[in-house]
């Protein structure tokens, strides 16, 4: 049946769905070029490129961007480590509480972010932990673990256990096996998971609002900027640049993971 053609109705529905997802983004792009800076007016009264240079010269953009990048990078690393460990443990054995662990991992993303945020904030207050870079990371890593975990656990499930045994059989100890067999085989899954985690962290507002104290990550900066506009198109420029800059990595990750899906699949 896969060789059949899709029906016209399906094609239209799918195209409409995609269109629905993209028109507002196009709008963001358009407003990055508008000449009107106080409010948004449709259609834009004129077009200009000046907001790009304005954005370039705004130190607060760079500060927020740099904070966001650092937070996302560190959170992703933490999530990669925790998620991989968890996936390894859960997929390799049937131990007591395995179910509980997988539920626990899913919980931070299954419960609304505001709950995670408030819980962490009140916990920080109770424990007298001042807000800092690390409190943001703490929040982000918590909900990023699940993305890495899901990707890794699926790959672990597909990578047959006999690969590990084959490696040990050929004389590699646990660490060598991890280095030479497990890691290369889950690498692309981790990459995909890591990318998602990074994206999730990079765009997070809800939890961050509660764990950031006075610092501004890029989304918080945007919230501030959107509500109290100085130069509204600047936020659009930032949003647009983020989309464009991430375009290639997303595509790259897609081709990377797709290629290895097939290789990993050969283990029957």
């Amino acid at each position: 049946m896969h060789s059949d053609r899709a029906s016209l109705g399906l094609k239209i529905a799918a195209a409409a769905g995609l269109l629905f997802m993209h028109l507002p983004i196009l709008l963001i792009f358009v407003y990055a070029f508008t000449t009107e800076d106080k409010s948004y007016q449709w259609p834009p009264p004129g077009y200009t490129l000046k907001w790009f240079s304005v954005t370039w010269e705004r130190p607060d953009v760079w500060e927020a961007l740099s904070l966001s990048l650092r937070v996302a990078a560190i959170s992703t690393v933490v999530a990669l480590v925790l998620g991989t460990l968890c996936a390894a443990a859960v997929s390799r054995t049937r131990f007591f509480g395995r179910e509980a662990i997988s539920l626990l991992v899913i919980l931070p993303i299954a419960l609304p972010g505001i709950i995670t945020g408030i819980s962490l904030r009140s916990a920080f207050n109770l424990a007298d932990i001042p807000f800092s870079f690390w409190t943001i990371v703490l929040g982000h890593a918590t909900f990023c673990v699940v993305v890495v975990y899901n990707n890794a656990v699926a790959r672990f499930r597909r990578t047959s256990g006999s690969l590990v045994e084959a490696s040990m059989d050929l004389g590699a100890n646990m660490f060598q096996t991890f280095r030479h067999v497990i890691l290369p085989n889950i690498a692309t899954a981790l990459l995909a998971g890591g990318m998602l985690a990074f994206a999730l962290s990079f765009d997070e507002v809800i939890v961050t609002t509660f764990t950031a104290g006075q610092q501004q990550t890029l989304p918080i900066w945007m919230l501030e900027e959107l509500v109290r506009p100085r130069q509204r198109p600047v936020t659009n420029v930032v949003a647009m640049v983020v989309v464009l800059v991430t375009f290639l990595p997303i595509l790259g990750a897609y081709y990377l993971t797709r290629g290895t899906e097939m290789v990993a699949g050969q283990g029957k």
């Binding site: 045994e165 050929l170 004389g171």
Partner: protein, 329 residues
């Protein structure tokens, strides 16, 4: 003669499942040893106990007369060819084969040379740069073999290595494996559920059923003198005659096995009715009914094939009827 592998009352239970149950076994160095048995009879578990992926719940596996209890897989002089090959998908054929040597710290040039050598041993030179995904089943199997052989293990474990190949390729690989084993003098422990494979290749065969060894012996013994009805039935689909019938024929009350090829048309023999016939190429298999008992008979090519529902008269040599000890199968 050195004993390469010995099982001393080895059991491996999973909860209530007795995958391997009080098995005693000795495999001599240099032997080609086959483990034969139906699916789920514990063959793979035995191999895994030898390789060290599983630990016995009772008993002891000895490797070259030393207890292996605490020895991890990566320190056993044993290599495995896995049922699903377990080739590393991220490494090319050369690196797959050289993996064990890399781990052992052999220099790059040296191990590449050894890998090439092993590959030509399995008739796969020129495939070194391919990824496993680009190989056919038979080729993968041979890479898995080369990967194990390159480490010059003392014992090579093979878990149904030919299971996925088609008949033609399988027969060809059987011959190759056998001659490789002779040439290298390595102990082979070979798991299969295909009786003709076990019989044709092994020096000795252990027939497994439900975690226990039913019989150990050379192929001829297993085939001609099965210990139990299970062995008789499983190895070569022998006819198993029930004790009542045997009593009528010989006076002794015991089950007996009777090979289909031992039956022949014989004018003064027992009357039997043909209920099914199947042309198998070299022979024709008849299914006969003799006093309510079904018997299989192989008619060599050239003899005239009776029609379905016809009555034929059959007989067999006295000594073809092999009496068995009574044991549950």
């Amino acid at each position: 003669m050195t004993t390469a592998i010995a099982f001393r009352q080895v059991s491996r239970h999973y909860g209530t499942v007795r995958a391997v149950d009080a098995v005693d076994l000795e495999i001599a160095e240099g032997e080609f040893f086959a483990m034969l048995g139906p699916s789920g009879s514990g063959k793979t578990t035995c191999l895994r106990l030898i390789a060290g992926f599983e630990r016995p719940t009772a008993g002891e596996v000895e490797i070259f007369d030393k207890p292996s209890g605490a020895v991890p897989p990566y320190r056993r002089p044993v290599n495995t060819v896995f049922q699903d090959y377990a080739l590393f998908p991220h490494l090319n054929v050369r690196d797959n084969v050289a993996y064990g040597l890399m781990i052992a710290g052999v220099a790059r040039a040296e191990r590449h040379r050894a890998a090439e050598e092993a590959l030509s041993m399995v008739a796969l030179p020129g495939y070194a740069a391919r990824k496993p995904a680009a190989l056919s089943g038979g080729q993968r199997q041979r890479v898995a073999l080369a990967r194990a052989l390159v480490n010059k293990p003392k014992v090579l474990l093979l878990d149904e290595p030919l299971g996925a190949l088609d008949l033609k390729l399988r027969e060809q690989m059987q011959v190759e494996l056998k001659s490789l084993q002779r040439q290298l003098g390595i102990t082979f422990v070979f798991v299969t559920h295909d009786q003709s494979e076990a019989l044709s290749m092994a020096d000795r065969v252990a027939v497994f059923n439900e975690g226990q060894i039913q019989q150990i012996g050379c192929p001829q013994d297993i085939y001609d003198r099965p210990n139990t009805p299970f062995v008789a039935d499983f190895v070569g689909s022998s006819n198993v005659l029930p004790p009542e019938m045997v009593e009528r024929l010989t006076g002794k009350r015991a089950s007996a096995s009777l090979r289909p090829e031992a039956l022949r048309l014989q004018a003064d023999g027992y009357a039997a009715q043909v209920i099914e016939k199947a042309f198998l190429g070299a022979v024709t298999r008849l299914t006969l009914d003799i006093d309510g008992q079904k018997l299989a008979m192989l008619l060599p090519k050239g003899e005239e094939v009776p029609e379905k529902a016809a009555t034929v008269h059959i007989g067999w040599d006295e000594d073809a009827l092999h009496l068995m000890e009574q044991r549950d199968a």
